[in-house]
Amino acid sequence: MGSIWEYANPVKFSQTVSRFLMPVAILAAIATIVGLVWGFFFTPDDYRQGSTVKIIYLHVPSALMAINIWFMMLVTSLIWLVRRHHVSALAAKAAAPVGVIMTLIALWTGAVWGQPMWGTWWAWDPRLTSFLILFLFYLGYIALWEAIDDPDTAADLTAVLCIVGSVFAMLSRYAVNFWNQGLHQGASIMRAGAVTGSDVEEKVSNVFFYPLMMCIIGFVLFFIALVLLRTRTEIHKRRTRALLARERMA
């Protein structure tokens, strides 16, 4: 009792999901709604950015999730390759589309914020570019899942792609940093400090910080609920396919 590997059993996993899905989803909804309402209506406008600053309540959580979802996929892919638990591979598959949407939300809210503040929808800033590349990685990953018929081969190949992709994604991050400095020497308009994760803790005052934390917690719980639900759906889908195949045999 107590080992996490017990949940590698699809039946046990489904049962546990059924028990926890509703509470997690409800908590996610409460945290997100409280965080957003608090952030949008009960915090003062920033003295320089005005009310546009409030988009951080969507932008920062989604950007955080976009990166962490890929990281979660990396961990589950490794578990699949090492221990061959199907639930793990299916969880990675289930998480990828959520990751794409989070990346899109981060890019979109960033553009909406950048239009009035930087005067442009898009700039080839290192951070923006990295997210665009991350978006491409997600697309490739999902496309590979869709393209392969045999589920085990698909799980294997996408897991390797995820691992190799992670290495290249980090490499791209540093390459892009270098590339931009190389092109725009001394440019300072792109100093996007206001919305970055590290600056949030250092610079953003507590008035903004607490509702932001609330939103982040909400997004994390929302993601957990979605992945649990989608993984269970994948398990059911596979089960249905197996039953149908068995029926055809009989």
Partner: protein, 218 residues
Amino acid sequence: MKALLFRDLKLAFRAGGGFGLGIAFFLIVVILVPFSVGPESGLLTKIAPGVLWLGALLACLLSLDRILALDWEDGTLDLVATSPLPLEGVVTVKALAHWLTTGVPLVVAAPVFGVLLNLPPQGFVWLVTSLALGTPALSVIGTFGAALTVGIKRGGLLLSLLILPLYVPTLIFGAELARRGAEGQDITTPLFMLAGITFGVIALLPFASALVLRMNLR
């Protein structure tokens, strides 16, 4: 392994092997660029390193699905896999053959195309260096992509989608090296970074390619 290499080279050079295709594609890209951005020589000088790198990368990409797909279809790959050769060695040889038939001609032809795009004289050395150093990485990464998608019918487009993000670091440092060389700036950092990527990729990625190929052959 030597036999395998010579076999791949022979297949590529014979008619229908697609040996000249990559270079012809490269030429067309280079010719089309002035049509699309205008014949201004100052502008061409400025974008020449980037365009040449992009052209080389696309030409490389074009021939990737030939690395393994044909051998997969006619069953050669199964035979090779059951032979005592380690699969890691096989994919390395495949990447080497691809580089010899695609990368090397691109490197040789690049200076000529540089003239077409009005590349400044001091840029040629670094253009050739960057391509010579960078194209092996393109071949090795491409072989990984080819191994991933080998079991998929008409996987060419998917291959491009998977490989292009992986090409980003190589492209950035390669083009940066060529650009800095052309503008007479300090080239140490991109040179070392590009070399690091290429050698790192050659050392590590064949293992991933072989692993993926084994999964596909199962």
